[in-house]
């Protein structure tokens, strides 16, 4: 396959999807933290945000409402940093009014995602992370169809510990098996909350479900990330949590996950 067939992803070494059957488990959070950790590790990273109805990535990386420009090679992604180590594309950049609702049925969503994959001039990237909405529907199928020409290294699945979440993620695992997407591993997010006043750990959303799910399905368990108000606060403000709180156990958890994912990509 020559590089002209691959199109705008020709210089992207690895593509990793971030999936969950369940909403609100932290897909965008984990995508953002993985991206920042990879940039700190010296990688050139891209984030493709295909959550068209609820795009969270622009706020989490504090990129506001820049204009999206065209060049000869296609749409120029928005860079989160002056060194251009972190490139992003999201529908959030294309809306004039950030409260505007994107009320689109499947075929229209499919068409835009096709453009995001094929027409964005990503340039040279070590890894492109694809943040997705919950479910197993148009967006997910559209991403995979358009990435067919390019290798998809695999998917990171995010869950919270409780059964209501793992119940949906099991279906996402089936989706991956049916669409031949390798599961790089499962992350259990919101895994315990340590009270900042007395250090008592509370299992707000139960415990252990992610690890059990990994065992049940024969998947790699990438690790647990605790419920950390400092993480939610820095994401709200679009700040880099890893730079702000490198001593935290959350930082350690995220770093371990990144290392495991990188090893499986290089393997």
């Amino acid at each position: 396959m020559d590089s002209s067939e691959k199109g705008s992803l020709a210089q992207v070494k690895h593509v990793v999807l971030v999936l969950s059957g369940k909403g609100g488990v932290g897909k965008s959070t984990i995508t953002t933290e993985l991206a920042l950790a990879l940039v700190h590790a010296g990688k050139k990273v891209g984030i493709l945000d295909v959550d068209l109805c609820g795009p969270s990535i622009p706020r989490m990386l504090s990129v506001g409402k820049p204009e999206v420009h065209q060049c000869d090679a296609g749409w120029v992604p928005v860079y989160a940093d002056p060194q251009q180590k972190l490139a992003i594309m999201s529908i959030g950049f294309l809306l004039e009014d950030s409260d505007e609702a994107v009320i689109w049925r499947g075929p229209k969503k499919t068409a835009l995602i096709g453009q995001f994959v094929s027409d964005v001039a990503w340039g040279e990237l070590d890894i492109l992370l694809v943040d997705t909405p919950p479910g197993t529907s148009d967006e997910h199928l559209a991403v995979l169809e358009n990435l067919r020409k390019h290798r998809v290294d695999g998917a990171v699945l995010v869950t919270t510990p409780q059964a209501v979440s793992t119940g949906d993620v099991r279906r996402e695992i089936t989706f991956c098996k049916k669409t031949a997407v390798k599961i790089l591993g499962i992350v259990e997010n919101m895994s315990g909350f340590v009270c900042p006043h007395c250090s008592e750990c509370s299992n707000v959303f139960s415990k252990g479900g992610g690890e059990e799910l990994a065992k049940l399905t024969g998947s790699v368990f990438l690790g647990s990330v605790p419920l950390d108000p400092l993480l939610t606060a820095t994401l709200e403000e679009g700040r880099d949590f890893l730079q702000a709180f490198p001593e935290s156990s959350t930082y350690t958890a995220i770093s371990q996950i990144v290392n495991t994912v990188l090893s499986s990509l290089d393997a």
Binding site: K22, G24, G54, Q162, A163, V164, R171, C195, C198, P229
Partner: protein, 318 residues
């Protein structure tokens, strides 16, 4: 014609779509000429069928959020339980989250199957006066994935509204997936004859949630669904040991309160985080009865009789 006819190709845009008969996927489809001529876009007769079917349903309330994981299904389930605690009322709970149906688990109905009779599909009864329908009941295994594009999801929602034998119902609560897409448009479209009383919007306090919820509120305005009010879920966590409150999902932009002030909407209530809620949901039990003294249960009880939701009931709801 069905939204996606049986003989349609894989990428059929749907017979009611603007692209019907015209998209590249339509090449070779036996229905292409019908669709291209616009004959398939006549008002869907199902809308009138549903209107007639639902004349026995007094009130229809949607539970919406732009954001995933804020507690829509938890709220829908517990609102249904609370309404059904009045034995004189008949309550129905419809789960239109096709890809991620949580209602069967939360209602303790996993593994139940739906039966067909001459009068249609029978919903699953969790109490004598509380009926539930979800795609979860049509799946044979907890690992089954519903990998459907929009048009097929729309067809399922049409069937849920037209073919389920709900009977006489005081309240039909509709739990939805996050977003503003096929499922939401279809529910609004198919209920356009029967009418929707209004929507309850669920959010968590942080801006990452509110920014999606504002879009949902815009959606409601566009399709003319009255917003009954907003509930702020996961609003603070009281440590069981030291009793101090932490804001795990901090209201950095003023939370639901400021959003409601700006948009002139009622804030129906705030529900704190309680680990026992998640546990009850996982076990399929109502936390209103399991832990009635928990701050979260108390918050829920306060929402029902004091809020606009009580407008829809002559008696106090709980």
């Amino acid at each position: 014609m069905a939204d996606v006819p049986n003989d349609a190709p894989e990428h059929c845009p749907g017979t009611s779509s603007d692209q019907a008969g015209k998209s590249s996927a339509c090449q070779g489809c036996p229905n292409q000429n019908i669709c291209a001529s616009g004959a398939a876009k006549a008002p869907d007769p199902a809308i009138e069928e549903i209107r007639q079917k639902l004349t026995s349903v007094k009130h229809k309330i949607l539970v919406l959020s732009g954001k995933g994981g804020v507690g829509k299904s938890t709220f829908s389930a517990h609102l249904s339980h609370a309404l059904a605690s009045d034995d004189s009322k008949e309550i129905a709970l419809l789960d239109v989250d096709i890809c991620g149906p949580s209602i069967p688990k939360i209602m303790g109905l996993e593994g139940e199957q739906v039966h067909q009779s001459g009068s249609g599909w029978s919903p699953v009864y969790v109490e004598d006066n509380l009926a539930v329908m979800s795609i979860g009941f049509l799946l044979s295994s907890p690992d089954d994935a519903v990998i459907w594009r929009g048009p097929k999801k729309n067809g399922m929602i049409k069937q849920f509204l037209r073919d389920v034998d709900w009977g006489e119902v005081d309240y039909l609560i509709v739990d939805t997936p996050p977003g503003t897409s096929d499922e939401h448009l279809s529910i609004v479209q198919y209920l356009s004859g029967a009418g929707i009383d209004g929507a309850v919007i669920i959010t968590t306090p942080q801006e990452v949630s509110l920014q999606d919820v504002r879009k949902e509120i815009r959606f409601c305005k566009k399709v003319k669904i009255p917003v009954i009010g907003v509930i702020e879920n996961m609003s603070g966590f009281v440590c069981p040991k030291c009793k101090n409150t932490s804001q795990i999902f901090p209201p950095t932009t003023g939370g639901a309160q400021r959003m409601c002030e700006e948009l002139n909407l009622p804030l129906l209530g705030r529900v704190p985080l309680d680990p026992r809620i998640g546990r009850s949901c996982d076990e399929g039990r109502s936390f209103l009865t399991e832990v009635p003294d928990s701050p979260a249960a108390v918050a829920y009880q306060n929402i029902f009789p004091n809020s606009k939701l009580s407008h829809y009931s002559k008696n106090s709801l709980c």
